[in-house]
């Protein structure tokens, strides 16, 4: 029976990038469908009626929503290649804890940097650097968050790297000088084909956000 795997996604989404990377790590063939977030397809609305968000992974007609759950599903469904999560319950709990922090703190701060001005923006920049430093400290001297191997937490975070240019530009910060180890980690991840193919060029994201800001009358 041929498996049908479809990914409803948006090219700049750091969440969609997670699922792209996971599928590539597992060498799963899939159809990529670009969604226009300002004109969502009926398929997206049908497959994710609760949140109406991408990414949505459709496997043999059944929808899976929320990127981190997609990572777990992909890991469980295609267990033979490149395990994404450790098997030890405590290590799994730690991995999920850090992925949850990334979800709660990185995007919230990051988004506020390019959508606000003045004091709010400054506060957001401070918060972003703080959380990135916390993550850098968690990484320590390891090559990857997943200890010996590239895994779940690395995948949860790496997509944001393509947005660092946006945060630097609008937040008036320099993430590389604040968190050099994290940047080194990101470049290491980019050497993996799954990551290099999933992440768009930073400049494209910066241009996209510049256009969004114009539309939102922030520029």
């Amino acid at each position: 029976m041929t498996e049908e795997v479809i990914l409803l996604d948006f090219w700049a989404s750091m969440y969609g990038m997670r699922t792209r990377i996971a599928l590539a790590e597992k060498r799963v063939k899939y159809h990529y469908r670009e969604e226009d977030l300002w004109n969502k397809s009926s398929l997206l609305l049908q497959m994710n009626p609760v949140h109406k968000k991408i990414p949505v992974l459709i496997h043999n007609g059944k929808p899976l929503c929320e990127s981190l759950f997609q990572l777990e599903y992909i890991d469980e469904t295609w267990p033979e290649e490149n395990p994404l999560l450790p098997s030890d319950p405590y290590k799994r709990a730690r991995a999920k804890f850090w992925a949850d922090i990334i979800d709660k703190k990185v995007n919230v701060a990051g988004r506020r940097i390019w959508t606000t001005k003045g004091e709010e923006k400054e506060e957001a920049s401070k918060e972003l650097i703080e959380i990135l430093k916390t993550l850098e400290s968690e990484l320590g001297d390891k090559d990857y968050f997943g200890e010996e191997t590239f895994g779940y937490v690395d995948i949860a975070l790496i997509g944001f790297y393509s947005w660092f240019g946006v945060y630097d530009k609008y937040g008036n910060i320099n993430i590389e000088s604040e968190c050099p180890k994290l940047i080194a980690w990101a470049k290491r991840c980019l050497q993996r084909e799954s990551v290099a193919k999933a992440l768009p060029e930073s400049e494209k994201i910066t241009t996209f956000i510049s256009e969004r800001r114009k539309k939102l009358e922030l520029e």
């Binding site: 899976l64 929320e66 759950f69 997609q70 599903y73 405590y90 709990a93 916390t134």
Partner: protein, 220 residues
């Protein structure tokens, strides 16, 4: 000999209650430690330096934080009794999705009902009722969200049941009228010892919220 796991918790916390239910479902003997938020214990600050929040499960000296993480950890660390998840990956993914819905939409809405007044509270009420109906529709005619057996999604939501009376009183709503099937499900879950032992009496929660509103909002 393995050490008894320690649960750092706070009695009215619906998140702490999840951990209690999970441990009891697995028949795990644990030590419950009440935290005072105005004076957090050294163990709490050491175990959860990032968030400094409860619940934290300390097992064999290692801390597990965030209630849904704790529930999943308990399921994996004591796999032989009462599994919380189905065995198929799709069913497991759906369970994670719905518990996450409870954590995001349902939690955000209910907080506005008991912590806010006026317009914000009204907005919270609308969102809350909407979330209730979505959950009720997902439950359908099943005895539990987990199907025939009590599971992960049931654990994630049932703890809010102890707060229903408070939402009704301070939000001026009737949860039974809005989602009778969900209330029936709540009563069904309460028949389980793991649940009834882990949830405080509704009246105590009402008292807790009344105190909070007096101190923070100037009135009930």
């Amino acid at each position: 000999m393995a050490n008894k796991p320690i649960l750092l918790d706070y009695w009215p916390s619906m998140f702490g209650m999840r951990a209690r239910v999970a441990l009891r479902e697995k028949g795990v003997d644990f030590e419950y430690r009440e935290e005072d938020f105005s004076n957090k214990s050294a163990l709490l600050l050491q175990s959860n330096p990032v968030h400094k929040k409860i619940p934290v499960l300390v097992h064999n000296g290692k801390p597990v934080c965030e209630s849904l993480n704790v529930v999943q950890y308990v399921d994996e660390a004591w796999p032989d009794k009462n599994p919380f998840f189905p065995s198929d990956p799709y069913g497991r993914s759906q369970a994670r999705f719905w518990a996450d819905f409870v954590d995001k939409k349902f939690t955000e809405a209910q907080v506005k009902i008991w912590m806010k007044k006026g317009e914000e509270q009204e907005a919270g009420k609308k969102e809350f009722i909407e979330a209730l109906k979505i959950l009720e529709s997902e439950l359908g005619d099943k005895p539990y969200f987990g199907g025939d057996s009590f599971g992960y999604v049931d654990i994630s939501l049932i703890t809010f049941y102890s707060w229903f009376q408070a939402y009704e009183k301070f939000g001026n709503i009737s949860i039974e009228a809005e989602s009778p099937k969900l209330v029936a499900w709540g009563k069904r879950c309460m028949e389980k010892e793991s649940v009834s032992k882990s949830l405080p009496e509704s009246e105590k929660i009402v008292g807790y919220v009344a105190e909070f509103r007096k101190n923070n909002l100037g009135s009930e």
